[in-house]
Symmetry: D2
Subunit: 459 residues, 4 copies
């Protein structure tokens, strides 16, 4: 079949999905999951005497994607206009006729696709759990290393008081940990099977419906929802929203690296291989491709997750108008988030940090960033309002006049008597980053304490 | 000040916000919260010997919106181009000069507005908790009453196998309960104060910063974040997403009522007062205004919540480009969700249910909805595939030929010998709703068991 | 390469794209366009003495996708991390070394991809033009046929005064025509090439840049922009927005059919083939699959078009953070809109109309829809306000009491004397659809007059 | 009435709307427009002998917002649950009883609100036209002034080949002009009145409907749509999309200024008044408040415009579920876009440009940006591929080794023999900006030629 999505092109696919997820979402991967679901259904039905045990065994052994005639399957799907009938007919081809009757017995399309959605959430949730914890570890290590590496704090794009690079990293780690909590919190809501039958009441199943559903879910490692959820889509939209929040954090990290890697700032950089070509026409260029792509991926994931939520006002007992949008959007959310996590993981592990540039950037703005420190000193003697006003005037004048911070303050008669020139030199040499390092410690300790208690795999 | 938003107009404001939230978000309400925050800050600073106790006491007693000159406050805000300076200057007017120095001492705009955001989440979360539980109760009562009220199940807008109205309601209750869980899960993430200072390191606060923050949060009934979160916006965006999911559930309920209230279906209706005028030119009309509005509100809330998430890729230590979008969007999310919950609460309590119409609508489609029941019977004798095929043919022909279900099946030689005419009559008279009622029981029991254990107020 | 997008799966691809566009967007199709662009560039450069004529001739004859080693191309793309270098290297393999130097000579990735974007807009714009005109024709024919077919007008989901089915259709045609206007209006803005070079100034091209660009655009059948537009994305976002508006109109048509096809309304239906299987478990069901899918497609297209607009705040002279989002979103907008147009075209041509049901549905609400007619009569004698009030009371009472419209009005002493029982019978038998047919005529005449003047192909 | 939207607060309203639009959208402003519409309707009806001339005259003279009892109006709106009835009843209070009968005679809510929407589009379109042309003029002047001011071109956030500041500005002007074209193109689609009556057929109007509508539209300076458009919302959504594109251009300009104003770049800056306070705790700070806010406004406008499009799949002959979302979103789109245009206008007129910093920033990256120039020279002798490869190696090594561009190239044996050291010095001193200035000329000439021909007011 001809691929028409650039995200699947041989040239670019590696940027828009990871191998493990791509195989989950490929036609073969998806059909394999669907067959597993059909086999579990048959076994649960056999266990509840709804179909012969023999049929269940036949279905289990035939439910293998490599046995199917995929051309025929696709043709029958198109011919019937029914999403699942092609697969059923392809299975009929390989099953003994007696057993063939019992495939997809009383089920509906959504039973298969929603249960597959739950398995997808299980796969993606597991990947997110693993990758977030790996990313967290890298950030914590880097934050510890740069606990005290001073750099400019920047607000509204302007240089303000100094922070440490570790402090900036700790803010990332803190956010990543909250996502780990979100994965824990949502798990029992998300990982539930769907066995609803035609309109949700398990009509074909007689009184055995709920028991079959319990066994069906159990066989697939999913929870039993207790209640059909064919038009109740909050589980799926919540999951996508959490993925979008994760991809957004990765985008925030990417955007930060992108900006700090500007040559005029040059505080951090991506590691690139020797084979990387930044620009053909401008051979000196090395572009922050990874961090840039994280921002792009974040945009698309948010858009697709919002589409899922937007599509969740569904009518009556089944409503394809919204439900089918999930078919496209949920895989996209997962593929792109997995790619985002992979790229962020590499980016952070390969991040180059230029502490020298960080120092220089503070110096280059002639020390004006020390204004908060001066304000503290002056507030004691002059009161804060007057101190603020005098400083603002003096610094505005000084800046325009080409003075540095020390000159600007010490040349001002009302300020100079309350400031100590040596202290200014000291502060400029050794910027005071206040509680930056303490907050690094809090975040590191908090994360480590939780990491020790929690499983490597999404529980 | 001239109102320019229709949602605040005297004519329509009641549809776009509730009184309790409107007063929270009014200029006075907001300033009152901000003053409370500034007073708590001063007290926390006094407790840590950062400012004189006297100053804190003065600030507490002056921090009353009715003492402020709001004109002056607004003028100074505009003149300085600083979001908070007008308020500080207005406070200076009423504070003793010595104490005036210590208002907003070392804080930054975002300390006030983000802490206010947390208080807003506390207020709105409490409203959501209360309203969701009230709505849940109404739905559970109605579901119990209509546990066995048969009606058409509808998929893709078409009539399918029968369900009960209680079953439909139980699906709403099930979804509402998951939102209650979400409010529980997110609480400790959301209800944290912000005390970051200029760039997040509490630079003005010396080493006392973390202790002041802990006291500050505690005084306001908020958790201590341990770490500044000025550009880490996942808390706010998660909260908004949960509100959007709640408003979406209300929209789903509204949309369902809107559709079932079509005169051709006439299964449910809204209660309207005698004074309600549906249409001036068409005096017979009674429009489902409440349910319609729920759909509208859901749309807008989703859009605003997505805007918050979209705005959360923020740079460095503060970034107004995204942050300021929250100033508009978060209040809108809360106001409209509160309105949505109020309207849904009334709608459900006033819902009229026409069980007769439900029966009639099943009858009107000549009983063809019983095809699943027939399929079960026939599958035993004929195998499911053949049964399905024969039934589909017979029913298609029968429908075109104007036959009813019994005629269509009993006139078909291959089917009639496997079906019992009396059984058909019985099924048409007494539709089999399979596990519908059992699922009602599961949902009701599950909710009641949790309700007994949980607090009336958001804990 | 493994496909991982369900929209490209062998089973479902036909629903998420049309063959002509799928081949445009396939790896081969895209590379073919890119090669055409590279060949045009070389020819324009040769014409301006920037490269040897021989090189241009070699490039033109080698620029064939079937000559390329696609594996090698993909590997080199990944190895270099450069979006275009794999292709350049694959071309080097097949070009004489002297000529190979002059491929992609001084160009940048965005020159190729943006010019391809323009060619894509040309292809898609042409498809939209053709399909919209075809759809318009079908609607006009149907509207003419049903110019006077009375049916219920419905507002807020409730039955109001009568309209004609032709009137409803004319509203669709009117909207479709405005899209045709939009395609005309935007054409010169959209169909421009991009030749910007490294940073937009055509740095590699010396003074010949603008002349080369003019020739380059001309060779490709595109307009010359006069100015580089690497971070000026309004062209692309406007195009996508227009496509989204088109897909939204198709969604409105789909949604309308979906609702009118409810069995309780049964006014229109989709034509399905005999092989179509609506539901396996409920063999009687025939689902409005096409109209349903139009709503789904509309949702996704809007979401992707909004993503393009959202991504168009781009920095400096090139900004991958937004630009790369277009790589995914623009093809998706086109593929899904083309699918939407194809499905709508078939849907409308196959639409079944049940005028009998339309009449019945008016009857079924006991004639209350005639209230506006009665209001007109009564307003003359009683004044409109009093007439409205009396009618509203009488009809509310009558409805509750099970009366029909005639009984409800004629049994009311204040109304009966101003109404003529025979007239009521006549109106109920022959609903007055006021200016409905006249508006059909206006729309049909207006469209036909423009159609006669305009080209079959997007000009 | 209590304001609850921060955008209307006395403190901040000036940032979220302009006075002229705020008065259009205020309760009084809106009611005034509605009254004008009702008066035009009455006059059109009188002209067509549908109501007495006397009634029309009375309505015209009473249709003044200052005569209305707004409390009563609001109370009756709430009591009746009807959007327009409060206004009708308030008018009844002041009209002679005979004439009062003929207010809103046969009209429906949407006739008033949609026609008001058209008048709103006329007002906002006129503002956009005026402001865009003013902004364009400022940009053209600045572009002419800085036609040759060299500065770094930046791609992917990295410094590339040089451009001129005028070239950057010309890209803005080019985009602004396309918006002016869009306003021209859409005008006849947008500025149409709505007179549809109950279900679109002008049922109450007898055969005079179309004539009344023509007169009604004419009296209000609007076009006659010929066809009702109650659920055909493409006009409104197109208008909002164009506004969103305009606000996005302003956001792109704002974002560019925000980034170039970073102190490490310091190439441009905003003019601030002496009274502006950037930061209280960091008295040296001057934040790019205006440019920052443009980005924020752009985000919100896009979100609201997308909401309008999302809401335009509407059912049957009226559908409040989508339509009412426009009531909130369209005013927001207009208010924020008007604010965006005002701020951008001021920003550009007050922009400070530091050509010295621009030069310095080129110098600071040690001249590596000249790599494209070198590539041109070397390609002649070495062939482009080899030249590219050698340069990339030499420059990577040179950069790491701390060399400047001249050292890095001249110390490389294979390169030095093909390069002229003096030429390098010259290029570094006098950067070659290729066709930058020529493109400025093209844009300026094109705009000026159109400006001379076009009206000052939106025609």
């Amino acid at each position: 079949m001809m691929m028409s999505r650039i995200a699947d092109s041989q040239m670019y696919a590696h940027l828009w999905g990871t191998e493990e997820l791509r195989s989950h979402f490929s036609e073969e991967g998806r059909l394999e999951s669907w067959l597993t679901i059909l086999a579990a259904l048959a076994e649960a039905q056999a266990a509840n005497a709804m179909i012969p045990a023999r049929a269940a065994a036949d279905i289990r052994s035939s439910a293998k994607v490599e046995l199917l005639d995929l051309e025929y399957l696709a043709d029958e799907t198109k011919r019937s206009g029914h999403s699942m009938l092609g697969l059923i007919r392809a299975l009929e081809q390989i099953l003994p006729p007696d057993s063939a009757q019992f495939v997809y017995y009383g089920a509906t399309v959504q039973d298969v696709t929603d249960t597959w959605m739950a398995l997808t959430m299980k796969t993606m949730g597991g990947i997110a759990w693993r990758q977030l914890r790996s990313i967290e570890q890298s950030i914590l290590d880097l934050a510890t290393e740069h606990r005290n590496t001073a750099m400019a704090g920047r607000t509204h794009g302007q240089i303000g008081s100094p922070i440490t690079f570790g402090f900036k990293l700790a803010s990332w780690a803190d956010e990543v940990r909250r996502h780990i909590h979100r994965l824990s919190d949502g798990r029992t809501r998300w990982l539930v099977g769907q066995l609803a039958g035609s309109v949700g009441t398990l009509g074909f199943f007689g009184r055995r419906g709920p028991a079959v559903r319990a066994d069906f879910c159990n066989l697939l490692g999913l929870f039993d929802p207790g209640m059909s959820w064919t038009t109740s889509r909050d589980r799926v939209s919540e999951f996508c929203m959490v993925q979008a929040m994760i991809a957004t954090t990765m985008a925030r990290i990417g955007d930060e690296v992108y900006e700090l890697a500007r040559p005029e700032l040059a505080e951090v950089g991506e590691t690139t291989s020797d084979e990387t070509v930044g620009s053909i026409t401008m051979p000196h260029k090395q572009n922050p491709e990874g961090s840039e792509h994280l921002v792009t991926l974040g945009r698309i994931v948010r858009s697709q997750a919002s589409l899922v939520l937007e599509s969740s006002v569904q009518s009556h007992e089944r409503d394809g108008r919204g439900w089918k949008a999930e078919w496209v959007a949920v895989p996209e959310v997962c593929l792109l988030t997995s790619s985002s996590l992979r790229i962020a993981d590499e980016l952070i592990r390969g991040l180059t940090v230029d502490a020298g540039s960080m120092t220089q950037n503070l110096a280059r703005t002639r020390g004006y960033w020390a204004s908060e420190w001066a304000l503290v000193q002056l507030s004691r003697d002059l009161g804060k309002h007057r101190a603020q006003q005098l400083l603002q005037e003096a610094l505005k004048q000084g800046w325009t006049g080409g003075l540095d911070f020390k000159e600007a303050t010490m040349s001002h008669p009302d300020l100079s008597k309350h400031l100590d020139a040596d202290k200014i030199d000291e502060v400029l040499r050794q910027p005071d980053t206040a509680s930056a390092a303490l907050m690094v410690d809090v975040v590191v300790a908090r994360s480590n304490s939780e990491r020790r208690e929690e499983a490597d795999q999404w529980p």
